[in-house]
């Protein structure tokens, strides 16, 4: 029972111990390959959050993960496991590229709105077929979304190396650069006084991501539709009893999920690369799964988990840059350990800590249970009601 512990222990103490354990084990690995773990940690933290420069990258990465994490989370609420984020985000990139290359937008703001719409529509479209197959044909969404990732990458290679390729651009499979008019304001343009440099990839899409998080929160916890999505996710027979159509919920949840994945492209393709390159998603679809799971499918949790991964990505890049002995794969190891300890091995810390608190405040007789509890398995667990 969660109420065995005060709330602060639940949402602060436990994650911090978990993180410390993950970093400790990572430190051991770093030490084993002959590098100084304390130095590495210092560079990691400093590099990620110690300067405007670091924040510029950390938040840029986090923005991607917010989109994909929210996407996976929304699907989770309807008990759909959307592994197709990679493909949906890739298609979102295609949508952004097409709408920006083939339409002349007079101003970035219009371009941004168009890109949001296009990326969401393309991403949603790529999720629509697996969703429909799941809803109507019972084809397992996990298989179909995995397959659609592969199909998407084939489609992207084809389009980028055969169709959208700029002639004479040296053969790099990428589209032309988008027009200067649709360059999104970067953190430097918006808030130079914060010390962001011209090159910071953080851009206005960050706010789009925050809005998306707010939107997801409203959708899931404040709308009738969200109520239905969660109800369906918890119990399909009960949903039927209540007049909730499974097909409708599966389709909507997956379309929203695909749309959110697609919107990642607004940040990565429109905001950062300013052209569509091959494999523009860079695994963010998969990271989104970890983010959603660790964030327990709640937007606030997703924001925090995305930030954590942003820190690991940016801080990791700095460590790799500063310490030649630490390679990029070492960073992957650290990420893995963080996921392992904060996500999968959560109870290893939680159980003893809970017992500790409990032994201090066991009630003599408690005739009836008192507080809501959330067992670990469901996506609603540990939700934060602001």
């Amino acid at each position: 029972m969660n109420d065995a512990m005060p709330k602060w222990a639940d949402i602060l103490l436990i994650p911090i111990i978990n993180l410390a354990l993950a970093l400790f084990v990572s430190g051991v690995v770093v030490a084993l390959i002959g590098e100084n773990p304390f130095e590495a940690l210092r560079i990691l933290i400093n590099g990620a959050v110690g300067s405007a420069y670091g924040w510029g990258y950390t938040l840029y990465y986090a923005t991607n993960f917010i989109f994909t994490g929210l996407a996976v989370a929304v699907a989770f609420h309807a008990r759909m496991f959307n592994i197709g984020g990679e493909g949906q985000a890739a298609l979102g990139g295609l949508g952004v590229a097409l709408i920006l290359l083939f339409v002349d937008w007079p101003h970035w703001s219009l371009g941004l709105l168009a890109a949001i719409a296009a990326s969401a529509v393309f991403g949603a479209a790529w999720a629509a077929i697996p969703a429909w197959l799941q809803a109507r044909r019972g084809s397992h969404i996990v298989i179909t979304t995995i397959m659609f990732n592969f199909i998407a990458s084939a489609l992207m290679v084809y389009l980028l190396s055969k169709v959208l390729l700029v002639p004479g651009a040296g053969g790099s499979p990428e589209t032309a650069r988008f027009a200067e008019a649709v360059r999104l304001p970067s953190a430097y343009d918006i808030a130079p006084w914060l010390g962001f440099s011209r090159s910071t990839p953080l851009n206005i899409s960050f706010f789009v991501a925050m809005l998306a998080a707010l939107g997801v929160w409203l959708l899931i916890w404040r709308t009738r539709l969200g109520y239905e999505i969660r109800a369906f996710g918890f119990s399909e027979p009960a949903a039927l009893y209540a007049g909730i159509s499974p097909t409708r919920i599966i389709m909507i949840a997956m379309l929203v999920s695909g749309g959110l994945c697609g919107m990642m492209a607004v940040n990565a393709v429109m905001g950062e690369a300013e052209r569509l390159v091959i494999d523009s998603v860079q695994g963010a679809g998969f990271v989104g799964i970890a983010v959603a799971l660790m964030g327990r499918s709640h937007p606030v949790g997703v924001l925090l988990a995305a930030l954590l991964f942003g820190i690991l990505y940016q801080g990791g890049a700095e460590v790799e840059f500063e310490i030649p002995g630490i390679t990029r794969e070492m960073i992957v190891v650290i990420q893995a350990l963080v996921i392992l300890f904060t996500g999968a091995l959560d109870n290893m810390v939680r159980m003893p800590v809970e017992r500790l608190f409990l032994s201090r405040r066991r009630q003599p007789v408690a005739p009836l249970p008192k507080d809501p509890t959330h067992p670990g398995g469901n996506p609603d667990a540990g939700k934060v009601e602001p």
Partner: protein, 312 residues
């Protein structure tokens, strides 16, 4: 100035990809050994780090900053103007900025030569190619190879396969081997791999089946002595070495530099591992063609010029 040390940014394929990046790394190492100099080096971990890393290198004072691979082109185009005092060198791509030296290789010409050798070594009349991904730069290899093979024998059958469409296509020796086996079953007895880590599987499968293979980028003849016909070498190492050396002397020239047959930027590898495989006639024919290409008597079609290939 001559006091700042050069920087090298290894691309996503990784420092030890046994081909392109590794070759660059070797060039840098050679420079270190010969001059005792120091240089900064880092490896990209993802797409978004391109710009970040270039800027970091420049801001840290590295000069010149060497970046590898076509994928850096449009990024460098944006970054270079911000650091007018830093020289950049980009390999495999042309970037039109005053402080950028663009080094491009005539891979199609080198591939043409190994294609000729493949055709001459083939007994079945079928040779093959395994590429990583069906992107133009790989087609440039494939197309040059096919032209060379058909130059020897217009009836030559050239099978061209690509490994995949995801990033794992460059690291899938299993699939590389399977493609090779499939090509062998279609009659191929010489296979040319331009597929990064996947190529290791290609060369292995060829060696296992006792047919010949052709390595790429760096000299891969040693991988299976006596079974690798040759390697289409692309002297990225020289490019990096030269850039480092020139910069140290303060003589780095920006602009486009084409590394082709004439300046030994590309070529085929001959060493003790393959001397038994390469006949004098082959060498004669290939040297002849090389001379003609340099002289402009033979024009090898560059796939990148129009994204088509006349040979297949």
């Amino acid at each position: 100035d001559a006091h700042s040390s050069p920087g090298l940014i290894i691309d996503l394929g990784g420092k030890f990809d046994k081909s392109f990046n590794e070759s660059a790394y070797n060039g840098a190492q050679r420079w270190v050994e010969e001059t005792g100099g120091e240089y900064a080096e880092t490896e990209l971990a993802n797409e978004a780090q391109r710009e970040q890393t270039m800027r970091r290198m420049a801001e840290r004072g590295a000069n010149p900053v060497v970046v590898l691979g076509f994928a850096n082109g449009s990024t460098l185009d944006v970054v270079a103007p911000d650091y007018p005092d830093t020289d950049f060198v980009i390999v495999d791509m042309v970037v039109d900025q005053p402080n950028v030296k663009s080094i491009v290789f005539s891979e199609h010409e080198g591939s043409y030569l190994v294609g000729m050798m493949a055709a001459m070594a083939s007994e079945t009349g079928t040779v093959s190619f395994v590429g990583g991904m069906d992107v133009p730069i790989i087609s440039k290899f494939a197309c040059g190879y096919a032209q060379g093979a058909k130059a020897v024998n217009p009836e030559m059958n050239v099978i061209v396969n690509m490994t995949g469409t995801t990033p794992t296509a460059w690291n899938d020796p299993v699939k590389g081997a399977e493609l090779t086996k499939s090509q062998i079953s279609q009659g191929s007895d010489v296979v040319f791999a331009a597929a990064g880590g996947t190529g290791i599987g290609v060369l292995q499968a060829a060696a296992d089946a006792d047919i010949l293979s052709i390595g790429v980028d760096s000299n891969q003849n040693y991988l299976h002595p006596g079974e690798v016909l040759t390697s289409m070498i692309k002297r990225v190492d020289n490019a990096v070495y030269d850039a480092f050396t020139a910069a140290a002397a303060g003589e780095l020239e920006t602009g486009i530099s084409v590394m082709g047959l004439s300046n030994d930027g590309v070529g085929f590898a001959l060493d003790e591992n393959n001397e038994a495989l390469v006949t004098p006639e082959m060498i004669a024919a290939v040297e002849d063609a090389k001379a003609k290409i340099i002289a402009g008597e033979i024009v090898v079609h560059d796939f990148l010029s129009d994204n088509t290939c006349p040979a297949y």
